[in-house]
């Protein structure tokens, strides 16, 4: 035991550390933790590194997965900033005078998200897009009162599953609106049939789960009587008119693509933004602009009376710890790329997906994209003999194809969702195409 511990115990008039645990009744004490002894730092690094070496990364294996997690190039400057320990070893900026740097960075994140989405206010993050969807449905109910929430049937399964758990106890029922089997976009006729005065909100995505651009935002808005919520891919927003232009009330999205690696699905960044008239009903932490006593510009957390530590069970949400560091990464990523860089990335993604789909479509037995029309960086590929055989054949050749859609939508047994980004080398694409050619 280090000498300062003995000194501290003596100061308190105690003999040993055991005395400090005298208040734990013997009946609940345990003698020790049944775990091995600790290891030196280098041994831990060696052991964890070698355990993880069993993973095949997208570097080892050309991989064409997306579906909410994307392998975009991240400039090294982003990690340099998120590695500043003044940021990453701090916590929620409860004390604004000591935390101006993080507060300004988060406020700039909010500003950038508002620019991308056409909204007025954003929060500093939700856990991911799926919980942002759950929170958005709850907010639509707070604003409108209706007890039905409409979502597209063409929705990633994990988003629908999480939404269901965020609506437990609210009495809100979720109804699905079919997609058009030709275009992959929302079926407007079915939407109009589903809308009623009880519908508190309508959720749609652009691009949608199939990677297809949703070209009917105007019409969907017009058909929606309640709150209109749009889910976006923030990179696509660089070249696509923002939901704010189409009358959206709330915009959500998955922000991982903005400067954070895939990390096997976490952490993620739930984007959440809304119109000015709704900000007092918004969940989560928000940063506001203000002044200090000397009149200098300053930032602080604001509208805290919406939050759990003040409002308790009446709070807009229970969220406390969020994904702030990913918001800092997103702000840095967007700043490093700037409008020019981000628009270039978005356009490049569209062109790559278009070219890849066209090349796959030429291979006998394959159809790509399954839905005609404009896509962002993903598209559905169908194989005439079912997709499982393709998935296995590719893996055997050290390639990971798209996301098999069997678990997502039962009518998609023979299909997979392929994604591409600027990371795919011509060699990786050629390898994929050759392997698909060999599938019969």
């Amino acid at each position: 035991m280090p000498s300062d511990e003995n000194e501290m115990l003596r100061t308190m008039g105690l003999r040993s550390v055991e005395d400090l645990f005298a208040d734990i009744p013997p009946a609940v004490r345990i003698p020790k933790l049944d775990l091995p002894d600790g290891l030196p730092e280098d041994a831990v690094v060696g052991r964890v590194t070698s355990m993880l070496a069993a993973n095949r990364t997208v570097v080892d294996m050309p991989t064409f997965l997306g579906g909410g997690s994307y392998d975009h190039f991240v400039p090294a400057s982003v990690r340099a900033i998120t590695s500043r320990s003044e940021f990453y070893t701090s916590y929620t900026p409860y004390q604004p005078e000591l935390s101006q740097g993080l507060l300004q960075a988060l406020w700039e994140y909010q500003s950038l998200i508002c620019e991308l989405t056409g909204m007025d206010g954003a929060n500093t993050s939700m856990y991911d897009a799926s919980t942002a969807l759950g929170e958005a449905a709850r907010m639509a109910h707070r604003l409108h009162g209706g007890k039905t929430f409409l979502i597209p049937r063409a929705l990633r399964h994990n988003r629908r599953a999480v939404l269901a758990n965020y609506l437990v106890g609210t009495g809100i029922a979720v109804r699905e609106v079919e997609y058009d089997r030709e275009t992959g976009m929302l079926d407007l006729t079915k939407l109009r049939e589903a809308v009623s005065s009880d519908v508190c909100g309508v959720y749609t995505e652009n691009p949608n789960f199939f990677g297809r651009f949703e070209e009917q935002l105007q019409e969907i808005r017009a058909a929606t009587k309640g709150i209109f919520i749009v889910g976006v891919n923030p990179i696509a927003q660089a070249v696509v008119r923002p939901p704010g232009d189409f009358g959206a009330d709330i915009v959500i999205g998955e922000g991982q693509a903005l400067g954070t690696p895939m990390n096997f699905g976490g952490p993620l960044l739930g984007i959440f933004a809304c119109r000015q008239e709704h900000i007092r009903k918004m969940p989560g932490r928000v940063i506001g602009l203000t002044r200090d006593v000397n009149g200098h510009r300053a930032f602080c957390m604001t509208l805290q009376t919406r939050e759990q530590h003040i409002r308790r069970e009446k709070a807009m949400s229970n969220i406390c710890t969020n994904e702030s560091l990913l918001a800092v990464a997103a702000a840095t990523y967007l700043s490093v790329l700037g409008a020019n860089g981000l628009r270039r990335v978005a356009a490049d993604n569209i062109r790559r997906a278009k070219d890849l789909a066209a090349a796959i479509d030429k291979i006998p037995g394959f159809t790509a994209p399954l839905f005609r029309g404009a896509h962002f960086n993903e598209f559905v590929v169908r194989h005439k003999n079912g997709y499982a055989v393709v998935h296995r054949a590719l893996l055997e050749k050290g390639i990971h194809g798209g996301l098999p859609l069997t678990r997502q939508l039962p009518e998609m047994q023979d299909a997979a969702l392929y994604a591409t980004t600027g990371r795919h080398t011509p060699e990786a694409v050629a390898k994929l195409l050759a392997a698909l050619e060999a599938v019969r």
Partner: protein, 482 residues
């Protein structure tokens, strides 16, 4: 200790001079109805962006900057080697939908972490999915509801002590449960009050032990008996787990459900507010209800089990905050069983030491030992016109992050102090000396504090009255000059 924070009169990104927008032909790429012609994000040099955010970071205070005794948040040192591990391509560059055969290393780590956390908590099974403590609470209550429903019971009430974290109330409220709040007696759960609150409507009683006053609930087995006799479940809020590692466990205390805060106890960095990780552990009887997927090991290797008919489903996309789970796992390997026990020993020693030294300086209500934190009160300074907020702001001038203030609510003018185990006596002594000095200072110095931070006292009322949440809103507001 003397301290002066950097101050840069750093413009907003949007105020910086932007390079020209370059033309981009979207002709055959985006349908005309959707085509966007401009984007108001400035085009800046990489170097200027790095400088901008570096300057901002210099106006921020982290654990690496100084002592950060923020109660209930466990702001301990974040070891650097775990950052290196989390940056490995075998962590960063794997996709969550990859075929199981290609992510055996990641699945193994998740599987082992499920097991290690279960051992530490004395539970039978663990889900790693929740993204934070509050989401762990939400998940735990969903599990409790599913458990009762499976037995044909609909239970609507969640009992909470008045010392509970705000998130406990919010999580129960989100799920539409009725909250029954019970008062404390001598800083502990009042067993009589609990007895009269518990009934066949009781879904669960949520408790953190030690509680937010840092006091160990020594009647915890009686508490468990009362709740279990009523057919309810006992929920352990793991925010204060740092106090009891290897000394007792939620399982040993007869809890049924536990959430961990890996960013607290297992020191994954707090990230300026997140990401965190909030795994949930349960007893065998609740295992069937855990979210999908669970990671299992069979003859063919590690796999993701979605075939769980009684599962509550999902609480977030995929499997949890993996990059944080890697850090926590590595930290646990580094410390080992005996090392984790020493963590709690030192955390408790540090808290009691600071409390002992402070007891003549500020009021410390409730007698007896504390565990990893304690709550002091500045109410005796009220006659001088000094409030807790003034002390908190003045502490910044001495280079300290203030404690949690005005919580828990049952202590007036509360300062909740959690030193953590990674602080030396030297640091703790200097902190106590600073507080002692502050209490004796001219009240005007305190009320006008802080003096040495990047900005002076911030007008939070103004921010809330006319919220300006973005550059767009600032621009739209005519009279509000930036």
């Amino acid at each position: 200790m003397s301290f002066r924070q950097a101050y840069w009169d750093e413009p907003l990104l949007m105020e910086k001079r932007s390079g020209p927008d370059l033309p981009l032909d979207l002709g055959d790429l985006v349908p005309p109805k959707l085509r966007r012609e401009s984007l108001a994000i400035p085009n800046l040099a990489d170097h200027d962006v790095v400088r901008h955010f570096t300057r901002l970071s210099q106006m921020n205070f982290g654990i690496d900057t100084g002592f950060y005794p923020l109660g209930s948040c466990t702001m301990k040192f974040n070891p650097k080697f775990t950052e290196e591990l989390a940056a490995l391509p075998t962590v960063a560059r794997i996709h969550p939908d990859q075929d199981e055969s290609t992510v055996q290393g990641a699945l193994r780590l998740l599987y082992e972490l499920q097991g290690v956390l279960a051992t530490i908590a004395g539970m039978d099974a663990v889900t790693l999915q929740p993204a934070a403590g509050a989401q762990g609470e939400h998940t735990g209550l969903l599990l409790a509801q599913a458990y009762h429903r499976d037995r044909g019971e609909e239970r609507s009430q969640v009992i909470l002590p008045d010392t509970a974290h705000g998130t406990n109330f919010a999580s129960a409220g989100m799920l539409g449960f009725d909250i029954v709040e019970i008062p404390s007696k001598d800083g502990r759960v009042d067993l009589k009050a609990l007895e009269s609150a518990a009934s066949d409507k009781t879904l669960a009683f949520m408790l953190t032990n030690p509680n937010t006053l840092g006091i160990f609930e020594d009647h915890v087995l009686e508490i468990a008996d009362i709740i279990h006799a009523a057919g309810g479940l006992l929920y352990y809020d793991g925010a204060n787990f740092n106090a009891i590692l290897g000394r007792t466990s939620p399982g040993k205390m007869n809890f049924d459900i536990v959430h961990f805060n890996l960013h607290k106890t297992f020191t994954t960095p707090h990230g300026g507010g997140g990401p965190g990780a909030g795994p949930v552990g349960v007893r065998k009887a609740l295992e069937p209800f855990l979210p999908v997927p669970q990671v299992h090991l069979n003859g063919r290797g590690y796999h993701l089990d979605y075939d769980r008919p009684k599962s509550i489903g999902k609480v977030r996309a995929w499997y949890g905050n993996f990059a944080l789970l890697v850090r926590a796992y590595a930290y646990i390997l580094r410390m080992g069983g005996s090392g984790l026990r020493e963590v709690s020993e030192r955390a408790v020693l540090n808290a009691n030491y600071v409390r002992h030294r402070l007891s003549g300086v500020l009021d410390v209500p409730f007698g007896g030992l504390r565990k990893h934190e304690f709550v002091a009160s500045a109410s005796k300074l009220a006659p001088k016109g000094v409030r807790t907020v003034d002390i908190a702001k003045r502490l910044m001038d001495f280079g300290y992050h203030p404690p949690t203030v005005y919580f828990p609510h049952l202590v007036e003018e509360a300062l909740m102090i959690e030193p953590t185990e990674t602080e030396t006596k030297e640091t703790l002594d200097a902190f106590v000396d600073a507080l002692t000095e502050i209490v004796g200072e001219d009240p005007e110095i305190l009320r006008s504090a802080p003096h040495n931070t990047a900005v002076r006292r911030v007008d939070e009322v103004r921010a809330a009255r006319e919220p300006i949440l973005s550059a767009r809103m600032a621009k739209a507001r005519k009279n509000a000059s930036l």
